[in-house]
C-alpha cells in the first residue's frame, strides 16, 4: 500500500512538473509577448524597457528556472494588462464558478447514477431504451447549443428567467441546468455500462444460484463492484469543477474562471492564463490522486498488490 501510494504521488508530481514546463514553453516561446502587449507600432525603446521589466531578455533557461522558483514560492506574476496579482485575479473568480459547478455536480450525481443503474437492471426494457436515447442525446448536444436553446425557450419565449449576468440566484438557474443535464447524461451512460459489466460476471450468477435474493445481490455484490469504475469518472467531474464551465460561462456572461480565461487568452495575458492552467492541472491531479486512494479503499485487491505501471 505504501509503495502504491509512493508511485502515485511521484506520478502526480511528474505530471505537475510537465504542466508547468508546458505552460512555460507554450506561453513564452510562441511569440514575443512584449511586442504583442505593447502593440506592433510601439516605439522600440518602450518594448525594450518592457522586456527588461519582465525579465524577457534573459536566456531562456534562466527564465525557466526563475519561473519554476517563482511558482514554488507561490508567485505567478501579475496580469500584464492591469498589473494586478494574477493569483488574486483568478481567486476572486473561483466562488462564482463553484456556484455553478457544485450544484451542477449534484444534479449529475442525483440523476445520472440512479438512471444508469435503473437502465442496467432493466436492460432492453423501454426504460433502458429511453435512458440510453436521452443519454446519447445529452452527450451529443454541445453545451453552448443546449444553453442557447434554454435561453430561447425560458428567457426569450417564456420570459421566466434572465438570459445572462449574475445579479440573483435566478441568473444561475439556466447555466446550472445546462451543465447538469449534459453531465448527467454522460454519467448515466457510464454507470449503465459499468453496471452491465458487473451483472455479467460469474459471481453474480453464483450469488443468484445459491438463493441470495435479487435485491441483496444488487446491493451487496453488483453496486460495490460497479462503483469502482464509476468513481473514476466522478473524480474527473470533481477535478473539472473549476475548468468545466468555460463555454457555459461564456454563453451566460457569468463572471467565473472560465470567462476570465477566455478573455485572458484573447488578450494574451500570459500570467493569468498560466495561473488558470496551473490551477486546473492542480485540481485535476489532486482529484486523480484521491480517486486512486479511494480505489485502494473500494478494491481490496489493490491493497495487497503493488500495481505495475
Amino acid at each position: 500500500m505504501l509503495r502504491f501510494l509512493a508511485t502515485r504521488l511521484l506520478r502526480a508530481a511528474v505530471t505537475v512538473v510537465l504542466v508547468v514546463t508546458f505552460a512555460f514553453v507554450v506561453l513564452r516561446l510562441s511569440g514575443d509577448p512584449a511586442q504583442i502587449i505593447m502593440g506592433a507600432d510601439a516605439p522600440p525603446e518602450a518594448v525594450e524597457a518592457f522586456r527588461r521589466a519582465w525579465g524577457l531578455d534573459d536566456p531562456i533557461w534562466m527564465q525557466y528556472l526563475r519561473y519554476f522558483g517563482a511558482i514554488i514560492g507561490g508567485d505567478l506574476g501579475r496580469s500584464m494588462r492591469d498589473g494586478r496579482d494574477a493569483i488574486a485575479l483568478v481567486a476572486e473568480r473561483i466562488p462564482a464558478t463553484l456556484a455553478l459547478t457544485i450544484p451542477a455536480l449534484l444534479i449529475k450525481l442525483c440523476i445520472g447514477i440512479p438512471a444508469g443503474i435503473t437502465a442496467a437492471l432493466h436492460r432492453n426494457s423501454p426504460i433502458d431504451r429511453a435512458v440510453m436515447v436521452l443519454a446519447v442525446a445529452g452527450f451529443t448536444v454541445p453545451s453552448f447549443v443546449l444553453g442557447l436553446l434554454l435561453v430561447l425557450v425560458f428567457a426569450v419565449q417564456l420570459g421566466w428567467l434572465p438570459s445572462g449576468g449574475q445579479e440573483s440566484w435566478r441568473h444561475a438557474v439556466l447555466p446550472i441546468l445546462t451543465l447538469g443535464i449534459g453531465g448527467a447524461a454522460v454519467l448515466a451512460r457510464f454507470t449503465r455500462s459499468a453496471m452491465l459489466e458487473v451483472l455479467g460476471q460469474p459471481y453474480i450468477r453464483t450469488a443468484s444460484a445459491k438463493g441470495v435474493p435479487w435485491r441483496a445481490v444488487v446491493w451487496g455484490h453488483a453496486l460495490p463492484n460497479a462503483a469502482i469504475p464509476t468513481v473514476t469518472i466522478i473524480g474527473f467531474m470533481v477535478g473539472s469543477l473549476i475548468a468545466g464551465a468555460v463555454v457555459v460561462e461564456s454563453v451566460f456572461s457569468w463572471p467565473g474562471v472560465g470567462r476570465l480565461l477566455v478573455v485572458a487568452v484573447a488578450n494574451r495575458d500570459l500570467a493569468v492564463v498560466q495561473c488558470v492552467l496551473l490551477l486546473v492541472a492542480g485540481t485535476m491531479v489532486t482529484a486523480n490522486l484521491v480517486v486512486d486512494l479511494l480505489y485502494g479503499a473500494l478494491d481490496p485487491r489493490l491493497r495487497s498488490q503493488a500495481r505495475g505501471a
Binding site: R11, T15, A23, L196, S240, L261, V265, R268
Partner: protein
Amino acid sequence: MSDAALPASLAGAPSAPRRRLPLLIRFALLWLALMLGTALLADVIAPYAYTALDLRNRLSPPIGLGGSFLHALGTDELGRDVLSRLIYSIRMSLLIAFGATIIGAVLGTSLGFLAAHFRGLVEQVVLALVDFSASLPFLILALAVLAFFGNSLPLFVALLGLHAWERYARIARGLAISAGAQGYAAAVRQLGASPWRIYGRHVLPNIASTLIVSMTLAFPEIILLESGLSFLGLGVQPPETSLGSMVGYGREYLTRAPWILLSPAAVIVLTTFSVSALGDWLRDRLDPTLSR
C-alpha cells in the same frame, strides 16, 4: 443457419437479424452520407458563395416563417445566405474533424507501439505524457495553445489532432504488449521480420477493430471541440466559416433571427449523434471487450 440456433450472447443481448440494420443505424448512415455528399459537392450545390452579400434581404426568415425561396434557410445580418454558409460550414467542420481524428489515431498508435516495443525509459516517457494529457481538460490546453501560437487552419487541425491521442496510445501499447505475448508476433520476429513489418503487417491488423471503434468515439468529440472553440471565437476565423462559428455569430441575433443558429446547431447535434450511435453499434459488433 437460423439465428435462433446461435448462442447469441450469454449476457442476454437479443440477436438482431443479421442482414437488417437497426432503424437508428440506417438513419445514422443516411445522415452521414448526406453530410459527406454535401461536403464533397459544396461548390456545386451551394446556391450562393458563402461570403456573398444580399443587402436588400437582410435577416430574411426561412421558408415557412414567411421567407422566400430566394433564401431557403433565411439570411443573416449582412444578407448572407444561411443555406450556403451551412453547406460550406459542413465541409469545413468535417474536414477538420477527419484530419484531426486521423492525426490523433496515427500519433497515438505510433507512440503506443514505440512504448510497447522499447519498454524501459521510452515507455515511461510515453506514460508520463499520457498522464499529462489526461490531467488537463483538453479545452483548457487548446485554449492556451491557440491564443499563444496565433490561429491558422493547419495549426488548428494539428491541435485538435492531439485530442484523445493518449487513448490510442494506451490501447495500442496494451494490445501490442499482449500481442507480443501471444506468439504470432514472436513467430514473425523469429523469422527475421523487421519491427516495421511486425507492427505494421501483423499487430496493427489484429488491433484495428479496437482502434476504429476508438476513432468513431473520438470523431464526434472533435466536432464538439471544434464547434465549441469556434463558438468562443477562438477556432475557425472569419471569413472562413464552420458550424460552431455560425452558432457563435447567430447568438447575437438569438431574439431577432434564431434561424441563423438553429440550422447549424441541428446539424452539429445530428452529426455527432449519428457518429456516436454508429460507434456504439460498431463496438457491440466488433469488440465487446471495449466497454465504455
